[in-house]
């Protein structure tokens, strides 16, 4: 937790600007902000992602201290929270963006806290004069919340110098600079392509204060994610099927196009399909609990076990 740092920061600046010995109760402010519940939820529902969670805690701490400073009448420059999320597919970038929007809203940084997801197609037009209104429309929708630009590097196409992406980039830069009060921009994408993108657009790099990398999940983490998803959908693994899923995940990770939690979610969807089929084929009368149980066979039937690709 970065709270102790916050305390120190506050005390030093209080001494600097107001000579009084007034005390500030950080704990009470922390409890009153109710941000703890949000952070706990984050901890519970997001498996792994330790560096990301740490950064979110830091963001919450900064906002809390900024708010305290404001009530104490200490001049506070509004911090900027434009962010870049890098990581492979399925590592939870969109999910975290959604949570981030919630937290920023809860701490009073953005007014509404909704998330608008946009890709190149939503921002860049097809012909001259088409891009500006399109980009503007998306920006307007995102005002008061968070604009999440997925695969942001597609905005910039160096091979085509007449590409309209540049126009969208310039508008975004302007908004990120001049309307910091109105919205937060999060750029997301693969790590290597994002760094090329930032190199080619130094304006973006300097305006994005927070760079978060989402590491790939380990097998254990993927398993925990699977358990959570299964539980949320009110299914359950028994011991053999849990072992089978473990093996499945290990094999699937080796295969091409593995996209972390998303692959797990798709696998569970297919397992549900097979389970329903199996139950229907067997027919007859079964215990109601059987409707929830995932059988080993439902998993073993996957093509992954026969060396085939399962998407």
């Amino acid at each position: 937790m970065s709270e102790p740092e916050g305390v120190e920061l506050l005390q030093t600046s209080t001494e600097g600007e107001t000579p009084t010995d007034k005390r500030v109760d950080i704990d009470a402010a922390y409890r009153a902000s109710n941000v703890e519940a949000l952070l706990d939820e984050l901890e519970r529902e997001l498996i792994g992602l330790a560096p990301v969670k740490q950064r979110i805690r830091e963001v919450a701490a900064l906002l809390l201290i900024a708010r305290l400073r404001e009530t104490e009448g200490i001049g506070t420059q509004r911090p900027t929270f434009h962010m870049s999320f890098t990581g492979d597919p399925g590592t939870g970038k969109t999910t975290v963006a959604l949570r981030m929007a919630k937290i920023l809203h809860h701490m009073g940084y953005v007014r509404k806290g909704h998330l608008v997801v946009a890709t190149r197609d939503d921002l860049v037009g097809q012909y001259v004069g088409h891009t500006a209104p399109k980009t503007k429309e998306i920006i307007k929708k995102a005002v008061g919340g968070v604009l999440f630009i997925d695969e942001a590097y597609y905005l910039y196409r160096p091979e085509n110098e007449r590409d309209y992406g540049q126009e969208a980039i310039e508008m975004l830069l302007q908004v990120m600079e001049n309307q910091r009060d109105d919205l937060v921009v999060i750029l997301a994408g693969y790590k290597d392509r994002m760094s090329t993108f930032f190199q080619a657009n130094p304006g973006f790099h300097s305006r994005v204060g927070h760079h978060l990398h989402f590491p790939n999940y380990s097998l254990d983490e993927l398993m925990a994610i699977a358990e959570l998803m299964v539980e949320q959908q009110e299914y359950r693994f028994d011991d053999p099927s849990r072992r089978a899923f473990w093996e499945y995940t290990g094999l699937r990770m080796q295969q091409p196009h593995f996209s972390n939690a998303r692959s797990i979610r798709n696998a569970i969807d297919r397992i549900k399909l097979r389970q329903a089929n199996r139950l229907l084929k067997e027919g007859g009368q079964i215990a109601a609990a059987e409707l929830q149980r995932i059988d080993e066979q439902d998993i073993r039937e996957s093509r992954v076990f026969r060396g085939g690709a399962d998407t």
């Binding site: 007014r111 509404k112 429309e137 307007k140 929708k141 005002v143 008061g144 109105d182």
Partner: protein, 139 residues
């Protein structure tokens, strides 16, 4: 002559903060908001021009204010109004409509009396400004 049309028109002009609050009220009710302008504010002219694209799916009044500022910059001497539409009836029903900009000088209307058969009088209103061509009326 100060034109009085729509809501709040007998009040002093709304400040930007007050406009924002009214827009917030529209959005809270789920009414899409439009920015419209005209230089022909005849009371029977209900069709003003919409500025820019329709503003659906907006969450925050700041976005509408951006559009309004742009409209003000483009048409500094036109009438501009904000309308909130209640679509719950299945058609665009104006729920709230108020003027947010008016020209500095409003020459007003002339009441014309037309004498017809049997000494009857027919009345009509004619805007002094509308004599000039479109775009030059309130310069």
């Amino acid at each position: 002559m100060r034109i009085t049309q729509g809501t709040f028109s007998y009040l002093p002009d709304l400040t930007d903060d007050e406009i924002k609050l009214q827009i917030q009220y529209c959005l809270d009710n789920g009414w899409p908001v439009a920015v419209e302008y005209t230089d022909d504010p005849h009371p029977r002219n209900v069709y003003w021009n919409m500025f820019g694209k329709p503003l659906f799916d907006i969450q925050d009044p700041a976005a509408i204010m951006m559009e309004l500022q742009e409209c003000r910059a483009t048409f500094p001497n036109h009438y501009i109004r904000i309308s909130g539409f209640d679509r719950s009836y299945g058609r665009a029903t104006t729920a709230l409509q108020f003027i947010v900009q008016r020209p500095d000088e409003e020459p007003g209307f002339m009441l014309e009396r037309q004498e017809v058969a049997d000494r009857q009088i027919k009345y009509t209103l004619r805007s002094y400004a509308a004599d000039k061509p479109k775009g030059k009326r309130y310069e």
